[in-house]
Symmetry: C2
Subunit: 199 residues, 2 copies
Protein backbone atom coordinates (compact mmCIF):
# COMPACT_ATOMS: atom_id res chain seq x y z
CA UNK A 1 0.00 0.00 0.00
CA UNK A 2 1.55 3.26 -1.18
CA UNK A 3 1.41 5.97 1.44
CA UNK A 4 3.03 9.33 2.06
CA UNK A 5 3.21 9.12 5.85
CA UNK A 6 0.84 9.35 8.80
CA UNK A 7 0.10 13.12 8.79
CA UNK A 8 -0.98 12.99 5.14
CA UNK A 9 -3.02 9.80 5.58
CA UNK A 10 -4.73 11.25 8.63
CA UNK A 11 -5.61 14.46 6.82
CA UNK A 12 -7.08 12.50 3.89
CA UNK A 13 -9.14 10.50 6.39
CA UNK A 14 -10.23 13.60 8.34
CA UNK A 15 -11.48 15.38 5.20
CA UNK A 16 -13.95 12.56 4.65
CA UNK A 17 -16.13 13.96 7.44
CA UNK A 18 -17.22 16.57 4.86
CA UNK A 19 -20.46 15.69 3.05
CA UNK A 20 -19.90 14.47 -0.51
CA UNK A 21 -16.16 13.89 -0.06
CA UNK A 22 -15.00 10.36 -0.90
CA UNK A 23 -11.47 8.91 -0.73
CA UNK A 24 -10.41 10.26 -4.13
CA UNK A 25 -11.55 13.84 -3.53
CA UNK A 26 -10.09 13.78 -0.01
CA UNK A 27 -6.72 12.83 -1.50
CA UNK A 28 -7.03 15.51 -4.14
CA UNK A 29 -7.91 18.13 -1.51
CA UNK A 30 -4.97 17.07 0.65
CA UNK A 31 -2.44 17.36 -2.18
CA UNK A 32 -3.94 20.65 -3.28
CA UNK A 33 -3.65 22.16 0.20
CA UNK A 34 -0.14 20.87 0.90
CA UNK A 35 1.26 21.46 -2.56
CA UNK A 36 -0.46 24.61 -3.74
CA UNK A 37 -2.39 26.43 -1.05
CA UNK A 38 -0.83 26.18 2.39
CA UNK A 39 -2.03 29.62 3.41
CA UNK A 40 -5.58 28.65 2.40
CA UNK A 41 -5.20 25.52 4.51
CA UNK A 42 -3.95 27.44 7.54
CA UNK A 43 -6.80 29.89 7.20
CA UNK A 44 -9.30 27.03 6.93
CA UNK A 45 -7.96 25.31 10.09
CA UNK A 46 -8.20 28.61 11.95
CA UNK A 47 -11.73 29.52 10.74
CA UNK A 48 -12.92 25.99 11.48
CA UNK A 49 -11.63 26.09 15.06
CA UNK A 50 -13.04 29.59 15.51
CA UNK A 51 -16.50 28.66 14.24
CA UNK A 52 -16.60 25.50 16.36
CA UNK A 53 -15.66 27.54 19.43
CA UNK A 54 -17.99 30.51 18.79
CA UNK A 55 -21.07 29.12 17.10
CA UNK A 56 -23.84 27.66 19.24
CA UNK A 57 -27.62 27.57 18.84
CA UNK A 58 -29.95 30.51 19.43
CA UNK A 59 -31.80 29.78 22.67
CA UNK A 60 -35.04 30.95 21.11
CA UNK A 61 -35.16 29.64 17.53
CA UNK A 62 -32.31 27.07 17.65
CA UNK A 63 -30.61 28.44 14.56
CA UNK A 64 -26.79 28.46 14.49
CA UNK A 65 -25.72 31.72 16.11
CA UNK A 66 -22.74 33.33 17.79
CA UNK A 67 -25.05 35.06 20.27
CA UNK A 68 -27.33 33.48 22.88
CA UNK A 69 -30.25 35.07 21.04
CA UNK A 70 -29.77 35.48 17.29
CA UNK A 71 -30.11 38.74 15.37
CA UNK A 72 -33.45 37.73 13.86
CA UNK A 73 -35.01 36.83 17.22
CA UNK A 74 -33.65 40.11 18.59
CA UNK A 75 -35.08 42.19 15.75
CA UNK A 76 -38.07 44.02 17.24
CA UNK A 77 -39.29 45.05 13.79
CA UNK A 78 -40.25 41.45 12.98
CA UNK A 79 -43.76 40.14 13.65
CA UNK A 80 -44.16 38.02 16.78
CA UNK A 81 -47.41 36.32 15.80
CA UNK A 82 -46.10 34.25 12.88
CA UNK A 83 -43.79 31.28 13.46
CA UNK A 84 -42.22 29.45 10.55
CA UNK A 85 -40.93 25.97 11.35
CA UNK A 86 -38.06 24.56 9.29
CA UNK A 87 -35.72 21.60 9.50
CA UNK A 88 -32.35 23.25 9.01
CA UNK A 89 -30.57 26.64 9.32
CA UNK A 90 -30.04 26.63 5.55
CA UNK A 91 -33.84 26.65 5.11
CA UNK A 92 -34.03 29.93 7.06
CA UNK A 93 -31.39 31.40 4.75
CA UNK A 94 -33.30 30.18 1.69
CA UNK A 95 -36.63 31.63 2.88
CA UNK A 96 -35.07 34.94 3.91
CA UNK A 97 -33.46 35.27 0.49
CA UNK A 98 -36.55 34.26 -1.49
CA UNK A 99 -39.46 35.83 0.38
CA UNK A 100 -40.51 38.95 2.28
CA UNK A 101 -41.41 36.96 5.39
CA UNK A 102 -40.95 39.11 8.48
CA UNK A 103 -42.03 36.75 11.24
CA UNK A 104 -40.22 34.36 13.57
CA UNK A 105 -38.53 31.01 12.90
CA UNK A 106 -38.07 27.76 14.74
CA UNK A 107 -35.35 25.38 13.54
CA UNK A 108 -35.95 21.72 14.36
CA UNK A 109 -32.42 20.75 13.21
CA UNK A 110 -33.84 17.62 11.62
CA UNK A 111 -37.05 15.66 11.42
CA UNK A 112 -38.71 12.89 13.43
CA UNK A 113 -36.88 9.65 12.77
CA UNK A 114 -37.75 7.04 15.39
CA UNK A 115 -35.40 4.45 13.87
CA UNK A 116 -32.46 6.82 14.41
CA UNK A 117 -33.67 7.66 17.91
CA UNK A 118 -34.67 11.20 16.86
CA UNK A 119 -37.86 12.01 18.74
CA UNK A 120 -39.66 15.21 19.76
CA UNK A 121 -37.09 16.04 22.48
CA UNK A 122 -34.18 16.13 20.02
CA UNK A 123 -36.12 18.51 17.78
CA UNK A 124 -36.91 20.92 20.61
CA UNK A 125 -40.66 20.22 20.53
CA UNK A 126 -40.99 20.87 24.31
CA UNK A 127 -39.57 24.39 23.72
CA UNK A 128 -41.95 24.81 20.82
CA UNK A 129 -44.92 23.85 23.00
CA UNK A 130 -43.79 26.33 25.66
CA UNK A 131 -43.68 28.95 22.93
CA UNK A 132 -47.22 28.08 21.75
CA UNK A 133 -48.42 28.35 25.34
CA UNK A 134 -47.23 31.96 25.58
CA UNK A 135 -50.23 32.62 23.27
CA UNK A 136 -48.34 35.16 21.14
CA UNK A 137 -48.09 33.01 18.04
CA UNK A 138 -51.33 32.90 16.05
CA UNK A 139 -50.06 31.32 12.83
CA UNK A 140 -47.66 28.42 12.46
CA UNK A 141 -46.17 28.04 8.97
CA UNK A 142 -44.93 24.51 8.36
CA UNK A 143 -41.92 24.60 6.04
CA UNK A 144 -40.35 21.21 6.65
CA UNK A 145 -38.96 19.37 3.63
CA UNK A 146 -41.55 17.79 1.28
CA UNK A 147 -40.18 14.32 2.10
CA UNK A 148 -41.98 11.53 3.94
CA UNK A 149 -40.13 12.34 7.17
CA UNK A 150 -40.60 16.08 6.78
CA UNK A 151 -44.33 15.64 6.21
CA UNK A 152 -44.71 13.29 9.19
CA UNK A 153 -42.93 15.86 11.35
CA UNK A 154 -45.20 18.64 10.03
CA UNK A 155 -48.25 16.51 10.79
CA UNK A 156 -47.05 15.89 14.35
CA UNK A 157 -46.51 19.60 14.98
CA UNK A 158 -49.80 20.58 13.34
CA UNK A 159 -51.74 18.42 15.79
CA UNK A 160 -50.07 20.13 18.74
CA UNK A 161 -50.67 23.60 17.31
CA UNK A 162 -54.29 22.95 16.40
CA UNK A 163 -55.05 21.61 19.87
CA UNK A 164 -54.03 25.09 21.06
CA UNK A 165 -56.22 26.85 18.48
CA UNK A 166 -53.28 28.11 16.45
CA UNK A 167 -53.89 28.61 12.74
CA UNK A 168 -51.63 26.17 10.83
CA UNK A 169 -50.49 26.70 7.23
CA UNK A 170 -48.00 24.95 5.06
CA UNK A 171 -46.09 26.08 1.97
CA UNK A 172 -48.21 25.93 -1.19
CA UNK A 173 -47.91 23.11 -3.66
CA UNK A 174 -45.28 23.87 -6.21
CA UNK A 175 -42.31 22.54 -4.33
CA UNK A 176 -41.18 19.34 -6.04
CA UNK A 177 -41.92 16.28 -3.94
CA UNK A 178 -39.01 14.32 -2.52
CA UNK A 179 -36.66 17.29 -2.83
CA UNK A 180 -34.84 19.29 -0.23
CA UNK A 181 -36.01 22.81 0.49
CA UNK A 182 -32.63 24.46 0.20
CA UNK A 183 -32.26 23.28 -3.40
CA UNK A 184 -35.56 24.69 -4.59
CA UNK A 185 -35.03 27.71 -6.86
CA UNK A 186 -35.98 30.96 -5.22
CA UNK A 187 -38.86 31.77 -7.62
CA UNK A 188 -40.65 28.52 -6.76
CA UNK A 189 -39.92 28.92 -3.09
CA UNK A 190 -41.18 32.52 -3.05
CA UNK A 191 -44.38 31.49 -4.84
CA UNK A 192 -44.97 28.54 -2.52
CA UNK A 193 -44.40 30.74 0.49
CA UNK A 194 -46.82 33.47 -0.60
CA UNK A 195 -49.47 30.89 -1.53
CA UNK A 196 -49.15 28.86 1.66
CA UNK A 197 -52.22 26.79 2.48
CA UNK A 198 -54.14 25.92 5.61
CA UNK A 199 -52.77 22.64 6.91
CA UNK B 1 -28.51 39.49 2.52
CA UNK B 2 -29.30 36.72 4.98
CA UNK B 3 -26.33 35.74 7.10
CA UNK B 4 -25.72 33.76 10.26
CA UNK B 5 -22.82 35.82 11.61
CA UNK B 6 -19.15 36.38 10.86
CA UNK B 7 -17.70 33.05 12.09
CA UNK B 8 -20.09 31.06 9.91
CA UNK B 9 -19.60 33.30 6.87
CA UNK B 10 -15.82 33.10 7.26
CA UNK B 11 -15.89 29.32 7.51
CA UNK B 12 -18.03 29.07 4.36
CA UNK B 13 -15.53 31.33 2.60
CA UNK B 14 -12.49 29.43 3.91
CA UNK B 15 -13.84 26.07 2.70
CA UNK B 16 -13.81 27.39 -0.85
CA UNK B 17 -10.01 26.98 -0.95
CA UNK B 18 -10.76 23.25 -1.41
CA UNK B 19 -10.77 22.15 -5.07
CA UNK B 20 -14.27 21.57 -6.44
CA UNK B 21 -16.03 23.36 -3.59
CA UNK B 22 -18.35 26.19 -4.68
CA UNK B 23 -20.48 28.50 -2.51
CA UNK B 24 -23.36 26.04 -2.18
CA UNK B 25 -21.24 23.05 -1.12
CA UNK B 26 -19.20 25.24 1.24
CA UNK B 27 -22.44 26.28 2.96
CA UNK B 28 -23.61 22.68 3.10
CA UNK B 29 -20.28 21.56 4.60
CA UNK B 30 -20.40 24.34 7.18
CA UNK B 31 -23.90 23.48 8.36
CA UNK B 32 -23.04 19.78 8.40
CA UNK B 33 -19.97 20.34 10.58
CA UNK B 34 -21.63 22.78 13.00
CA UNK B 35 -24.97 21.01 13.19
CA UNK B 36 -24.10 17.33 12.97
CA UNK B 37 -20.39 16.59 13.24
CA UNK B 38 -18.52 18.93 15.54
CA UNK B 39 -16.07 16.25 16.63
CA UNK B 40 -15.30 15.51 12.96
CA UNK B 41 -14.72 19.24 12.45
CA UNK B 42 -12.40 19.51 15.45
CA UNK B 43 -10.47 16.49 14.25
CA UNK B 44 -10.21 17.99 10.77
CA UNK B 45 -8.88 21.32 12.09
CA UNK B 46 -6.31 19.44 14.15
CA UNK B 47 -5.16 17.09 11.36
CA UNK B 48 -4.97 20.00 8.92
CA UNK B 49 -2.75 22.05 11.25
CA UNK B 50 -0.63 19.00 11.98
CA UNK B 51 -0.10 18.12 8.33
CA UNK B 52 0.72 21.73 7.43
CA UNK B 53 3.28 21.84 10.24
CA UNK B 54 4.87 18.42 9.61
CA UNK B 55 4.72 17.84 5.87
CA UNK B 56 7.45 19.29 3.69
CA UNK B 57 9.07 18.08 0.48
CA UNK B 58 11.63 15.27 0.25
CA UNK B 59 14.97 16.93 -0.47
CA UNK B 60 15.78 14.27 -3.03
CA UNK B 61 12.59 13.55 -5.02
CA UNK B 62 10.45 16.56 -3.94
CA UNK B 63 7.47 14.40 -2.97
CA UNK B 64 5.41 15.45 0.06
CA UNK B 65 7.12 13.86 3.06
CA UNK B 66 7.36 14.23 6.82
CA UNK B 67 11.07 13.35 6.68
CA UNK B 68 13.88 15.29 4.99
CA UNK B 69 14.42 12.24 2.78
CA UNK B 70 11.27 10.21 2.07
CA UNK B 71 10.89 6.49 2.73
CA UNK B 72 11.14 5.61 -0.97
CA UNK B 73 14.38 7.56 -1.49
CA UNK B 74 15.72 5.92 1.68
CA UNK B 75 14.80 2.41 0.55
CA UNK B 76 18.10 0.79 -0.43
CA UNK B 77 16.30 -2.13 -2.09
CA UNK B 78 15.10 0.16 -4.90
CA UNK B 79 17.09 0.55 -8.13
CA UNK B 80 19.16 3.72 -8.41
CA UNK B 81 19.60 3.67 -12.18
CA UNK B 82 15.95 4.34 -13.13
CA UNK B 83 14.35 7.72 -12.52
CA UNK B 84 10.64 8.24 -13.17
CA UNK B 85 9.60 11.88 -13.55
CA UNK B 86 6.05 12.87 -12.66
CA UNK B 87 4.12 16.07 -12.16
CA UNK B 88 2.44 15.44 -8.81
CA UNK B 89 2.75 13.34 -5.63
CA UNK B 90 -0.55 11.64 -6.51
CA UNK B 91 1.10 10.30 -9.69
CA UNK B 92 3.71 8.51 -7.56
CA UNK B 93 0.92 6.92 -5.54
CA UNK B 94 -0.90 5.88 -8.72
CA UNK B 95 2.24 4.31 -10.27
CA UNK B 96 3.21 2.55 -7.04
CA UNK B 97 -0.27 1.07 -6.77
CA UNK B 98 -0.54 0.02 -10.43
CA UNK B 99 2.96 -1.19 -11.36
CA UNK B 100 5.94 -3.13 -10.04
CA UNK B 101 8.31 -0.22 -10.64
CA UNK B 102 11.18 -0.34 -8.16
CA UNK B 103 13.26 2.65 -9.24
CA UNK B 104 13.48 6.27 -8.12
CA UNK B 105 11.07 9.19 -8.64
CA UNK B 106 11.35 12.89 -9.20
CA UNK B 107 8.26 15.05 -8.61
CA UNK B 108 8.16 18.28 -10.59
CA UNK B 109 5.11 19.55 -8.65
CA UNK B 110 3.66 20.94 -11.86
CA UNK B 111 4.62 21.53 -15.48
CA UNK B 112 6.28 24.30 -17.45
CA UNK B 113 3.84 27.18 -17.82
CA UNK B 114 5.61 30.35 -18.89
CA UNK B 115 2.41 32.43 -18.78
CA UNK B 116 2.00 31.58 -15.09
CA UNK B 117 5.68 32.24 -14.44
CA UNK B 118 6.41 28.55 -13.87
CA UNK B 119 9.82 27.89 -15.36
CA UNK B 120 12.51 25.22 -14.89
CA UNK B 121 13.59 26.61 -11.49
CA UNK B 122 10.13 26.18 -9.97
CA UNK B 123 10.03 22.56 -11.14
CA UNK B 124 13.43 21.75 -9.61
CA UNK B 125 15.11 21.19 -12.98
CA UNK B 126 18.50 22.41 -11.61
CA UNK B 127 18.32 19.64 -8.97
CA UNK B 128 17.36 17.20 -11.67
CA UNK B 129 20.37 18.19 -13.77
CA UNK B 130 22.65 17.79 -10.74
CA UNK B 131 21.17 14.32 -10.30
CA UNK B 132 21.82 13.44 -13.96
CA UNK B 133 25.41 14.64 -13.56
CA UNK B 134 26.03 12.11 -10.79
CA UNK B 135 25.95 9.57 -13.64
CA UNK B 136 24.02 6.95 -11.64
CA UNK B 137 20.75 7.30 -13.56
CA UNK B 138 20.84 5.46 -16.91
CA UNK B 139 17.12 5.56 -17.75
CA UNK B 140 14.73 8.46 -17.38
CA UNK B 141 11.05 7.49 -17.57
CA UNK B 142 8.88 10.46 -18.50
CA UNK B 143 5.47 10.12 -16.84
CA UNK B 144 4.14 13.65 -17.05
CA UNK B 145 0.46 14.09 -17.88
CA UNK B 146 -0.53 13.51 -21.55
CA UNK B 147 -1.60 17.14 -21.86
CA UNK B 148 -0.02 19.82 -24.02
CA UNK B 149 1.85 21.27 -21.04
CA UNK B 150 2.89 17.87 -19.72
CA UNK B 151 4.24 16.88 -23.12
CA UNK B 152 6.13 20.16 -23.52
CA UNK B 153 7.68 19.62 -20.09
CA UNK B 154 8.63 16.05 -21.03
CA UNK B 155 10.22 17.28 -24.23
CA UNK B 156 12.25 19.88 -22.35
CA UNK B 157 13.56 17.29 -19.89
CA UNK B 158 14.25 14.73 -22.61
CA UNK B 159 16.61 17.16 -24.37
CA UNK B 160 18.59 17.67 -21.19
CA UNK B 161 18.78 13.95 -20.46
CA UNK B 162 19.74 12.99 -23.99
CA UNK B 163 22.54 15.57 -24.07
CA UNK B 164 23.97 13.57 -21.13
CA UNK B 165 23.57 10.24 -22.93
CA UNK B 166 20.77 9.05 -20.66
CA UNK B 167 18.26 6.65 -22.19
CA UNK B 168 14.83 8.37 -22.23
CA UNK B 169 11.52 6.50 -22.30
CA UNK B 170 7.94 7.62 -21.90
CA UNK B 171 4.82 5.73 -20.90
CA UNK B 172 3.35 3.70 -23.78
CA UNK B 173 0.38 4.88 -25.76
CA UNK B 174 -2.80 3.76 -24.13
CA UNK B 175 -3.22 6.64 -21.77
CA UNK B 176 -6.14 8.76 -22.99
CA UNK B 177 -4.96 12.07 -24.40
CA UNK B 178 -5.89 15.22 -22.52
CA UNK B 179 -6.48 13.31 -19.30
CA UNK B 180 -4.75 13.45 -15.98
CA UNK B 181 -2.53 10.59 -14.94
CA UNK B 182 -4.04 10.09 -11.52
CA UNK B 183 -7.47 9.38 -13.02
CA UNK B 184 -6.27 6.67 -15.39
CA UNK B 185 -7.49 3.23 -14.28
CA UNK B 186 -4.71 1.10 -12.88
CA UNK B 187 -4.91 -1.58 -15.63
CA UNK B 188 -4.25 0.99 -18.36
CA UNK B 189 -1.57 2.67 -16.31
CA UNK B 190 0.16 -0.63 -15.57
CA UNK B 191 0.10 -1.60 -19.26
CA UNK B 192 1.39 1.80 -20.34
CA UNK B 193 4.15 1.63 -17.78
CA UNK B 194 5.33 -1.84 -18.77
CA UNK B 195 5.23 -0.93 -22.47
CA UNK B 196 7.01 2.39 -22.12
CA UNK B 197 8.65 3.58 -25.30
CA UNK B 198 11.92 5.26 -26.21
CA UNK B 199 11.27 9.00 -26.27
ZN1 LIG C 1 -33.04 32.98 17.06
ZN1 LIG D 1 12.09 11.17 -1.84
Amino acid sequence: MATLGPSIDQLIQALRCLPGVGPKSAQRMTFHLLERDRSGGEHLAEMLSKALANVKHCQRCRILSEEDICSRCNDSSRREDQLCIVEMPSDVIAIEQATHYQGQYFVLTGHLSPLDGIGPEALGIPDLIARFDQKIVTEVILATNPTVEGQATAHYISEIARSRDIHVTRLAHGIPLGGELEYVDSGTLSHAFAGREKY
